[in-house]
């Protein structure tokens, strides 16, 4: 037993090197994902992000049909890149609601005017409280929510053209 002990450090080294080499070759996903997939949307009520537009509450997300909930902000640079893709999704018949994080009404209005407005409802989340309640860790993020208000899928980061098919598939699955 004592004799075998002297090989332990070498064995530990090999285990360390093996594991680390594997991890380098297969890097982990760095996104912090929400743990609420499969759980109901937490109850919330938000004031309208733009005066005159419809506000958003959790009840509005359980309409019997799957919806896309998009977390965005006017100060968020990748959201500008995402806007045309959202427009495309809207044209394909996807119902999209938005939550604007830490935004002034005039800035949201300007953003929508400049980049297009795919949203049916937009809620104003001034202190990121609903964002945190959803388990979202940044902007932009999107959630596929089914007809009964259950969160089915989270997309972290902007939805890019190559992600559209995945999002549509998830919306289909949520029916």
């Amino acid at each position: 037993m004592r004799r075998a002990l002297r090989f332990v450090p070498l064995a530990l080294l090999l285990a360390f090197v093996g594991f680390v080499a594997w991890r380098l070759a297969n890097p982990a996903d760095t996104a912090i994902r929400s743990r609420l997939e499969g759980k109901p949307v937490p109850a919330f009520t938000l004031p309208p992000a733009v005066p005159g537009r419809a506000a958003l509450s959790s009840a509005d997300l359980a309409t019997g049909q799957p919806r896309l909930l998009n977390i965005f902000a006017s100060w968020c640079v990748p959201c500008i890149a995402e806007a045309p893709v959202l427009g495309d999704l809207k044209r394909r018949g996807v119902a999209i609601d938005g939550i604007a994080i830490r935004d002034k009404p005039e800035d949201v209005a300007a953003f929508l005017a400049r980049n297009g407005d795919p949203y049916q409802r937009i809620g104003a989340d001034m202190q990121s409280s609903v964002q945190m309640a959803l388990g979202s860790a940044g902007v932009p993020e999107s959630f596929v929510i089914d007809g009964r208000g259950i969160i089915r899928y989270q997309h972290v980061g902007p939805i890019m053209p190559q992600d559209v098919s995945t999002v549509l598939a998830e919306l289909e699955k949520a029916k």
Binding site: R3, R6, F7, P9, L10, L13, L14, F16, V17, F19, V20, A21, W22, R23, L24, P27, A28, T30, I32
Partner: protein, 634 residues
């Protein structure tokens, strides 16, 4: 021209390293110190030349060199141009091989105690280490690559990097990490030639001491830099990059104590060899972890998994070979003189055990998140709550051991030590009682830390009692100072943790805030400007009792590149620091953060004392060796 010169010097140095290795292996000539020495010396001169070339390129801001164009700027102050040479991946790797080659040369020049065969084997090991890193530099991280066409201006004027602490922190740490390579090479040479004995330990000891001093200084300086720069008053975060520097230090501390036993008594041979290998391995693991991108850290280098892989391969080769050698030779390493459990050797065995366990805990805790994620798919975080809860008590155990360990005699100590230990124990008990009465809400770790830290003050001095102070060896003085430093640092840590007072507020000019014993008035807010920045500066007047201090924290905006920084204002009093930060403006005033941190400076003062103790011990040992050498000649 200079870049090509530097590159050529580097290639030549690599070739010499190859020759040095071949010579050690007996290829191309009989292995002899006389043959190896000039190779090591010229190799060092060449790498020094290459490093000097890089420095010149940076000082001149030669933008035709890619590295300079990416990391420097013609408007930088010369000091930061100079330090910018090593403030990037390629330059820091060049610094690494330079120190490696210089250490090898010093070893070749001055080491006369060990057998020639062993010296040559060690120089061969050192050359082998160098070869891997030369290959890394020349093949994957060329510092002298040219950029054509040369840009009009460099990209590197980041103001955050233009700080004296930041400029000199890397070389200090590198001297530590790479200095440990000599201990590694000596261990490998000793195991190869089966000369694991006291002369080896005496040869290794100055290298371990020297590296350890630099590591202590580097970690202490890094902690203070983070404290005043990050703007929230924290001095240690158990961040992966911090842990990467702590692990070699823990191993080096254990090695330092172990090599003393081997030098004095011929004991702990296997442990010393293992620790010598582990210490440099930790340097390499640390280098790998921070450059590969495998761990997230606020201190992480610009990440490149490819470079990480290269370092991993080197790590696997070097450490694997050394550990295989250890396994092969372990059975044949002769045991040293026997000793009782209650003896200095026994105490040092426990000391090394505790240090190694703490090292293991830091290692496991740092890597656990990625292991757990690989196994379970779930992310988790391991941070201060874990490390403090687990390593803290062990560190306290070590502190308690310090009260009695240094007093024990070699081999066997059956004397009653109560009267020597009593003052320290009574001190600790008194502090405990006082804190229970006056500060009942104190955390247990802080309470014990304060008690043990204060008790270490008399405990460190006790070994000097009853001796003629003038004839006490410098090495003993070094031990006293270093252990005193441990106590002082503990007091600082416990005090900061338990007695810090914080005040966060939104204030208007004219408002007064109280934090601890201080009354701080926001006298005014004014814009100020510097050479390449504008700032909002708060004028704070702080007073406690009589007199008033002025603090001027700033929130700076640099113009190119556009960066916001916060410059904390710190007032250092005899019993602590008042730390002030000004934040953003809101509708109702300015965000102000104030801390009163009693005795926080003791943390870094303790660190410096520890390093000073090491220096005194090193000087003492080297002086004694020279005197012995001269006496032997007479």
């Amino acid at each position: 021209m200079i870049a090509e010169l530097g590159l050529a010097a580097l290639w030549l140095a690599a070739m010499l390293a190859l020759l040095q290795l071949l010579l050690a292996l007996g290829i191309g000539g009989r292995p002899s110190a006389a043959g190896a020495r000039p190779l090591a010396l010229v190799q060092a001169a060449l790498t020094l030349l290459a490093f000097a070339a890089l420095i010149v390129l940076f000082l001149r801001t030669d933008l035709s060199v890619t590295l300079v164009a990416a990391n420097s700027h013609s408007a930088k102050p010369w000091l930061y141009k100079f330090a910018g040479a090593w403030g990037n991946h390629e330059g820091s790797m060049l610094l690494w091989v330079t120190v490696l080659a210089l250490s090898g040369a010093l070893l070749a020049l001055f080491e006369r105690r060990v057998a020639e065969k062993m010296l040559v084997a060690s120089l061969g090991a050192q050359a082998a280490l160098g070869l891997g890193f030369y290959a890394f530099l020349l093949l994957a991280s060329n510092p002298f690559a040219r950029l054509d066409p040369a840009p009009a201006e460099g990209r590197g004027l980041n103001p955050l990097l233009q700080d004296p602490g930041l400029a000199f922190h890397p070389p200090t740490l590198y001297l530590g990490y790479v200095g440990l390579s000599v201990a590694f090479s000596l261990a490998v040479g000793a195991m190869l030639t089966r000369q694991v004995d006291a002369p080896l330990a005496r040869a290794m000891r100055p290298w371990v001491l020297g590296s350890w001093i630099f590591l202590t200084l580097g970690i202490t300086a890094g902690s203070y830099w983070a404290y005043y720069e990050l703007g929230w008053g924290g001095w240690w975060f158990w961040d992966p990059v911090e842990n990467a520097s702590l692990m070699p230090w823990l191993a080096a501390t254990a090695l330092l104590h172990s090599v003393n036993v081997l030098a004095a008594r011929g004991g702990l041979r296997s442990w010393t060899m293992m620790l010598a290998v582990v210490a440099f391995s930790m340097s390499m693991v640390g280098t790998f972890l921070v450059r590969s991108g495998i761990l997230t850290s606020v201190h992480a280098f610009a990440v490149d998994p490819q470079r990480g892989t290269f370092i991993l391969v080197l790590l696997a080769l070097y450490v694997g070979a050394a550990l295989a050698l250890f396994a092969a030779r372990a059975a044949t390493i002769r045991e040293g003189a026997p000793f009782d459990p209650v003896s200095r050797e026994g105490a040092l065995v426990v000391n090394n055990l505790l240090l190694s366990v703490i090292l293991g805990i830091v290692f496991v805790g740092t890597l656990y998140p990625i292991v757990a994620e690989a196994l379970s798919g779930e992310k988790l975080s391991v941070g201060p709550p874990y490390f403090n809860a687990v390593a803290g008590p062990l560190a306290l155990l070590l502190a308690a051991l310090l009260v009695v360990g240094p007093l024990l005699r070699w081999r066997r100590d059956k004397r009653p030590l109560a009267k020597w230990v009593l003052p320290s124990v009574l001190t600790a008990a008194t502090v405990l009682v006082i804190t229970f009465v006056f500060v009942p809400g104190m955390g247990i770790l802080s309470r014990l830390g304060l008690a043990f830290g204060i008790a270490l003050v008399p405990a460190s001095i006790v070994p000097l009692l009853g001796r003629s102070l003038r004839r006490t060896p410098l090495a003993t003085w070094g031990m006293v100072i270093a252990h005193l430093g441990v106590g002082v640092a503990l007091i600082g840590m416990a005090s900061e943790s338990a007695f810090t007072r914080e005040k966060l507020a939104v204030a208007q000019p004219g408002d007064k805030l109280s934090v601890g014993p201080w009354l701080v008035e926001l006298a005014g807010i004014a814009p100020v400007a510097g050479p390449n920045w504008t700032a909002i500066e708060a004028h704070l007047r702080a007073s406690r009792g009589s007199g008033a201090e002025t603090l001027r924290p700033q929130a700076r905006v640099f113009t190119s590149p556009l960066t916001e920084t916060s410059e904390a204002a710190i007032h250092t009093a005899w019993n602590g620091q008042l730390y002030a930060v000004i934040g953003k403006q809101r509708d109702d005033g300015w965000q102000l953060r104030l801390w009163w941190k009693p005795f926080v400076t003791l943390i870094w003062l303790g660190g410096m004392l520890i390093a000073l103790g090491g220096l005194v011990a090193l000087v003492g040992r080297l002086w004694r060796e020279r005197r012995r050498g001269r006496e032997a000649e007479e």
